[in-house]
């Protein structure tokens, strides 16, 4: 790998680096404030490597959720990855030995960098995909580790730090809302969650909500599809 290639990769991944380090630090501090230190943060960052899910996992783990709830929540929160995969089948077709890692490391942000057709000229496609995926993974691990260290080194009052997760989801929600004219799916999600929260209570409403969402989306398919054609 030459200097020019590394420089290109660095520049292309710079926005992801900023985001991953900041969100990773948030995760590390938060996980640390629940009593899980550096080793756990790094393990989670390396093996799970999924931003929103890691934040949700802190709540599930510290709340002592059952394995079934943890598994189903992961399934639904990360279901979108299925669709990234579907659209990358062609792009990763010739990746050979690199393919398993490329697939493992296909996060939202890596997908956003590699799904387009604009790859740097004069660079081997597979090498570029691998370098971008690996760089992003390392940024994320670094961020999570830094957060954990900051959280244990600086003894500040962390009460309320959990709110960074709420804030993260609110910003993603706004971005999603602004990116489409079809707001029915978002409204279905909001209504299902509030209804199930009232019926099942704070400790048991995730699974009913996800079921209600899936059923509602399928039943209302016609209306959502119609809105699409406007």
């Amino acid at each position: 790998m030459n200097k020019k290639f590394l420089k290109t990769v660095f520049i292309k991944t710079l926005p992801v680096m900023t985001g991953y380090i900041a969100l990773g630090i948030g995760f590390g501090i938060l996980f640390n404030s629940h009593g899980y230190g550096l080793l756990w943060s790094v393990l989670m960052a390396a093996l799970v490597y999924a931003g929103s899910m890691q934040y949700v996992a802190i709540n599930l783990i510290s709340g002592g959720a059952s394995l079934i709830t943890i598994a189903l929540t992961t399934l639904l929160v990360n279901a979108r990855h299925l669709f990234y995969g579907i659209s990358m089948i062609g792009k990763y077709k010739d990746a050979g030995k690199k393919k398993p890692y490329l697939i493992f490391a296909l996060t939202d942000e890596t997908y956003s960098l590699l799904c387009s057709d604009f790859y740097p000229e004069n660079a081997d496609k597979g090498k570029y995909q691998l370098a971008v995926s690996l760089a992003n993974h390392l940024y994320w691990i670094t961020g999570c580790a830094l957060g954990s260290l900051i959280g244990s080194a600086i003894p500040f009052n962390t009460a309320g730090i959990d709110f960074c997760m709420t804030a993260l989801f609110v910003t993603i929600f706004i971005e999603q809302w602004l990116s489409t004219k079809k707001h029915l799916p978002a409204v279905i999600g909001l209504a299902s969650a509030v209804i199930c929260l009232l019926i099942f209570g704070a400790d048991a409403f995730l699974i009913p909500t996800m079921t209600l969402i899936s059923v509602s989306l399928i039943l209302l398919k016609r209306f959502i599809k119609e809105a699409e054609n406007e």
């Binding site: 900041a22 948030g26 899980y36 756990w40 989670m44 899910m53 996992a57 783990i61 002592g64 394995l67 943890i70 598994a71 992961t74 399934l75 639904l76 929160v77 990360n78 279901a79 979108r80 990855h81 299925l82 669709f83 995969g85 579907i86 990358m88 089948i89 990763y92 697939i103 493992f104 296909l106 009460a159 309320g160 709110f163 960074c164 997760m165 709420t166 804030a167 993260l168 989801f169 910003t171 993603i172 929600f173 079809k182 707001h183 799916p185 978002a186 409204v187 279905i188 999600g189 909001l190 969650a193 929260l197 995730l206 909500t209 996800m210 969402i213 899936s214 989306l217 959502i224 599809k225």
Partner: protein
């Protein structure tokens, strides 16, 4: 949660996340068609799930007792306003979280 359960939980989350990333490559080859219902759910599920996650974060807020969810309401309001003004995710998160922390530590 003790260390063993925590490790098992992390491994379960990791395995399912990885499985979701691998399944499309295993099931759908470059030539085979993906079922429409899967494509449909994949397209719209993220919007619903994100709304659910926002509610999930606020699930323990008690609207019937002081401070009646005011810190959360103000925090979310700040995130929304900052985000509409600047469209900078990190700024919105940092601004909202710092205000929320100050509110619950010093005001309420």
């Amino acid at each position: 949660m003790n260390n063993t359960s925590l490790l098992i939980s992390i491994l379960v989350i990791a395995a399912i996340t990885a499985a979701l990333r691998f399944i499309p490559f295993a099931v759908f080859s470059a030539n085979r068609k993906t079922p429409n219902i899967i494509l449909y759910l994949g397209r719209y599920l993220p919007y619903s799930i994100m709304a659910m996650l926002v509610v999930y974060c606020l699930k323990s807020v008690n609207l019937l007792a002081a401070p009646f969810g005011l810190p959360e309401l103000i925090g979310v309001f700040i995130v929304v306003v900052l985000h509409f003004l600047k469209r900078n995710t990190l700024l919105s998160i940092a601004g909202g979280t710092i205000c929320y922390m100050l509110l619950i530590q010093f005001v309420f």
